[in-house]
């Protein structure tokens, strides 16, 4: 089933930040996505040239709908098209849902610590939304905390919605809101100690962001005593 490409039509686009946009696709035949999964998106030019990329789902739940949130990679081939050019009615192809590891299901029991860097929030936002939509019993069974690192307040994805849905701590790395108590700096051990669940046998930690961010956070988590087997990571971008 995942081998099959589905025709997708854009039914909505919403700005998320100055460089990112949410895209909603109607995709007949697409079903059963789990929060944290991704899809492959394929674009075809009039002469038949194709380019495909993977994007995490920003929300799950409604079958035959795909919700993406795409950040523009400055020199990218596909993301500038999705962020700047795409409009309602346009068509592309989608394959998925894909991936069975970096996921959260409403039937999962136990606390969950989410740590996001930049656009790495996307699969974690899908988890926050899935938990919210599953109702208070699930929320009581699976306490969530989210530590979200962004360069500036303007770079945050889904700020209001996330604040309403989850115990959220912001970590600004370049510029803070006026009067913010924590100076702008990269995440450190003190941030993790103050704003994340302590290690425990039933805790799941999910970290998503640029490679250097995930390397740093995963290292700090292990130093804080977390079991590496309980820390799941998803990275994007390079490392020298």
């Amino acid at each position: 089933m995942t081998e099959q490409w589905h025709v997708a039509q854009v039914v909505g686009t919403t700005p998320v930040t100055a460089s990112a946009r949410a895209v909603t696709l109607a995709v007949p035949g697409f079903a059963g996505a789990v929060a944290g999964q991704h899809v492959d998106v394929r674009l075809t030019a009039p002469d038949g040239y194709q380019a495909a990329r993977s994007y995490s789902l920003a929300a799950v739940g409604a079958d035959e709908r795909v919700e993406l949130a795409v950040d523009r990679v400055p020199d990218g081939e596909v993301s500038p098209y999705l962020v700047d050019e795409l409009r309602v009615g346009d068509r592309m192809e989608v394959r998925g849902p894909l991936g069975g590891w970096f996921v959260w299901r409403p039937e999962d029991v136990g606390p969950v610590q989410l740590v996001a860097g930049g656009s790495g929030i996307v699969p974690l936002a899908a988890m926050v939304r899935a938990r919210r939509d599953a109702g208070p019993e699930v929320a009581a069974r699976a306490p969530f905390r989210l530590l979200y690192s962004v360069r500036t307040p303007q770079d945050a994805f889904f700020a209001d919605e996330l604040e309403a849905a989850v115990d959220l701590t912001w970590a600004y790395t370049r510029r803070t809101p006026p009067g913010w108590p924590r100076p702008a700096r990269r995440l450190d051990a003190a941030d993790l100690a103050a704003s994340t669940f302590a290690p425990s046998d039933d805790l799941t930690v999910l970290v998503c962001g640029p490679t250097a961010f995930v390397e740093t956070v995963a290292g700090l988590l292990l130093e804080a005593g977390h079991d590496p087997a309980r820390v799941k990571t998803e990275r994007f971008g390079g490392a020298s």
Binding site: T44, A45, Y81, L86, T233
Partner: protein
């Protein structure tokens, strides 16, 4: 017949040679790992091969360094769609490790420090097709890319090239490894685009 995406031109940079279907070229070296990077010191690193008889063959870092190494220039292809051309590695071909290993098994499970696993046919590790690599572009292999030692099986998608390699265990059946249990293809030939199960 694929649908055309209005307004999409694509970049179609001229590549030196054709890429496997659905791949794009990167100059970067992206990282894909399911969990934290384990820190495996060379002094602690050990590699072993285990067969159906219970026999184990073991090598430590000094033994690895004493073996005949090769410089390998190869293209690598990640299932997340990036390809990187002409990467330079140094390592020891798996043939050298299997020289004294006798097994009737046709498959192997690779095990890594940190718990990662991936399954391969034994034939895909032999005849100069796979290495234990410990240098990348003339430098010791960085932990984030699988150092001190990773499996290098460049003719398959790169998740088969297990980072932080610790052991190979032969198996009679092609029992799936970590990503292979999580939606990815059992074999992973990039030219046949065997991405997903």
């Amino acid at each position: 017949m694929a649908v055309v995406s209005r307004g999409f031109g694509g970049r179609r940079e001229p590549t030196e040679k054709p890429l496997p279907p659905g791949q794009f070229l990167t100059e970067d070296f992206p990282v894909l790992s399911a969990g934290p990077t384990p820190n495996v010191d060379e002094s602690r690193w050990e590699f072993s091969i285990h067969t159906e008889t219970g026999e184990a063959h073991r090598w430590d870092w000094a033994a690895l360094q004493a073996m005949d190494a090769e410089d390998v220039s190869t293209d690598i292809h990640c299932v997340t769609r990036w390809s990187k051309l002409g990467t330079g590695w140094r390592g020891v071909p798996l043939d050298a490790f299997f020289a004294d290993v006798e097994t009737e098994d046709d498959f192997v499970m690779a095990h890594s420090y940190g718990g990662y696993t991936t399954n391969l046919p034994l034939d895909d590790l032999l005849d100069g097709k796979a290495w234990l690599a410990y240098e990348f572009e003339g430098e010791p292999l960085a932990p984030v890319h699988g150092g001190p030692v990773r499996l290098l099986v460049p003719h398959l998608y790169f998740w088969k090239s297990a980072k932080w390699i610790r052991s190979l265990v032969t198996q009679a059946d092609d029992v799936p490894g970590f990503w292979e249990q999580n939606g990815y293809h059992a074999y992973g030939d990039p030219w046949l685009e065997q991405r997903y199960s």
